[in-house]
């Protein structure tokens, strides 16, 4: 269509500019505030231009608030969730789409049911499960009267596995892989079978390479999700050194009875949002595909 609409074009650009400004303004102020000194943030009105204290503030944040450790924790949790969830769900999806075996539908439904309840609605019992993973065994033991089972204690509080495993317990990724596998042409599998490939060879040499773009797209989304976790790390870490960066920020929030340290908070916020933002900026083409395809 060769349409000339100069006025509407201008209005559209204006709308998009305002939208982009509304997105950028808070981020810009994080940068500005993070580079001011304690005196400068208390001045009214606050400066709209960056100060000179960014590196000094960053050093304070990394040393005093132990933020280096928290960023590392965030990375371990996000990577753990990404790798764990992808590997567990890709093989589960392979099993339910490419194998006929007894109770196939039962297995599928059990996985599928977990799509329905977010972790937020069952936090207390999930916490109890993580506080002692052996709890169900103990209950079973007390029913059966086996004393050895009753005192089992396997505590995941303040551990990486406790922070990671319960967040893997949902089947969104399995569901996405299942949908993708159903679109793979049957001829590929037939040909592989005629050539004498074992199921595992078919999976490793044909199915996995075909799913590469889905895996990358999903990995980005899962990494962002893992990095930005809040509720679960808040509950499961009593040791401040095991918290993730987002939880660390909450601890830096100004309290009413002390001198507000907005400059440190904002500097830490900048450090925390930098890795996921870079992921989006660099990999946005894949990210959009993953988002729209998976409906996450």
């Amino acid at each position: 269509m060769n349409e000339r609409t100069p006025i509407i074009d201008a209005v559209c650009h204006l709308i998009l500019l305002v939208g982009a400004a509304l997105v950028c303004l808070p981020i810009y102020f994080v940068l500005v505030t993070g580079s001011l000194s304690q005196q400068e943030i208390m001045r009214v009105p606050m400066s709209w231009l960056p100060g000179t204290e960014f590196v000094a503030n960053m050093q304070t944040v990394l040393s005093n608030a132990n933020f280096g450790r928290l960023l590392l924790n965030s990375f371990i949790i996000a990577a753990g969730i990404t790798i764990g969830k992808l590997s567990v769900s890709v093989i589960a999806a392979f099993a339910v789409t490419y194998f006929r075996f007894p109770f196939r539908m039962t297995a599928f439904w059990l996985i599928f049911m977990s799509l329905m309840l977010p972790i937020e609605v069952r936090i207390v019992p999930t916490y109890e499960s993580a506080a002692n993973v052996a709890l169900p065994l103990n209950i079973l033991g007390s029913w059966l009267g086996i004393q050895a089972l009753v005192d089992l204690d396997w505590n995941l509080v303040n551990t990486y596995s406790g922070l990671i495993l319960p967040l893997i317990a949902s089947a969104t990724a399995t569901f996405l892989f299942r949908q993708f596998f159903l679109t793979v042409p049957d001829e590929l599998c037939e040909a592989a079978r005629i050539d004498g490939a074992t199921p595992w060879q078919f999976f490793r040499l044909i199915l996995l390479p075909l799913s590469r773009s889905n895996i990358v797209a999903l990995a980005i989304i899962l990494f962002l999700m893992g990095w930005n976790q809040y509720l679960w790390p808040l509950l499961l870490t009593t040791d401040p050194a095991m918290a993730n960066a987002v939880i660390g920020l909450k601890k830096l929030m100004p309290q009413s009875d002390s001198l507000p340290t907005w400059h440190l908070l904002m500097n830490a916020a900048f450090l925390t949002m930098l890795p996921p933002t870079l992921v989006i900026l660099i990999l946005q083409r894949w990210f959009v595909k993953g988002l729209v395809d998976s409906g996450k």
Binding site: E120, V124, P125, V288
Partner: protein, 333 residues
Amino acid sequence: MPARNSTAALPVAAGGGALRLRWPFRRLLLKGDGQAESGLKRAHFRDWRLPFWLLAPQLFILLLFFFIPSIRALIQAFQLTDPFGATTQWVGFQNFERLFRSGVYWSSAQVTLIFTIAQNVLTLSLALLLAFASNHILRGRGVYRTVLLLPYAIAPAIAGIMLAFLFNPRVGPVAHMLQGLGFDWDPNRNSWHALSLIVMAASWKHICYNYIFLVAALLSVPQSILESAYLDGAGPIQRFLRISLPMITPTLFFLIVINFVYGLFETFAIVDATTRGGPAGATSILVYKVYQDGFVTLDLGSSAAQSVVLMALALALTFAQFRFVERRVNYSV
């Protein structure tokens, strides 16, 4: 345009617009497979040991951290446990009766309703406006879209903290502008101000998500229809309102459901990092109250009963989601 590659995932025009209500999961499972056994590839392996081991890790994790906790939440909802866990008593529906008689709970439900609706309206209308604008212009699309994607990367808690700072009555630049205009802004005391603060933070974070889906949906509207409307003399706005918008209604419905899920369950971090439910419970949305009653006041029975109510809500929303998701399921990615 990366989104163009994935537009096929939104078969907006498919289905002839007939909104037939059927059992959503059955439809979803049977659709597109064409085999006797649903969801099984026509070319498949017959083996039962390998799939057992392939499924074992997922089923084991789900058992420990999904099924057992969910069932325990259901059981606890009918029990009364003292805060130190010494005694547990079976009380039937007493927790629910107590919950539904509690004025605090209803006001929390009311706050949640206002919050989710306001968030939905704000998010969706702005995302629509932005999607229309970026669909219309030709130059600079990619740059705008990259910028508008940024909030997706930023944690809800950080979004809350950023806006809490901008709107902080003592130091915040935006709060100063409001005060300069003679507006007595103070989210620490005024409950409506606090509520609008978390609505803004939640929307800021979620507009990008709605925007991506709307851009993708708009790209999938058939060009031929738009062109014939153009030849008949319809302008861009008219074409958008009369053709594009009706054709993307499935996406709109899907986004409304997703926005409710987001508002109900994923905004915990925003509330906890900024207002902590205050002032005087003005921003204590339902998820926040489950946490407060479960971990702060240690009223486990009430917290479990609230969990069960939220589970019912989550189930209802999931069913609604699949009503719309099935239209987006695409077998030719």
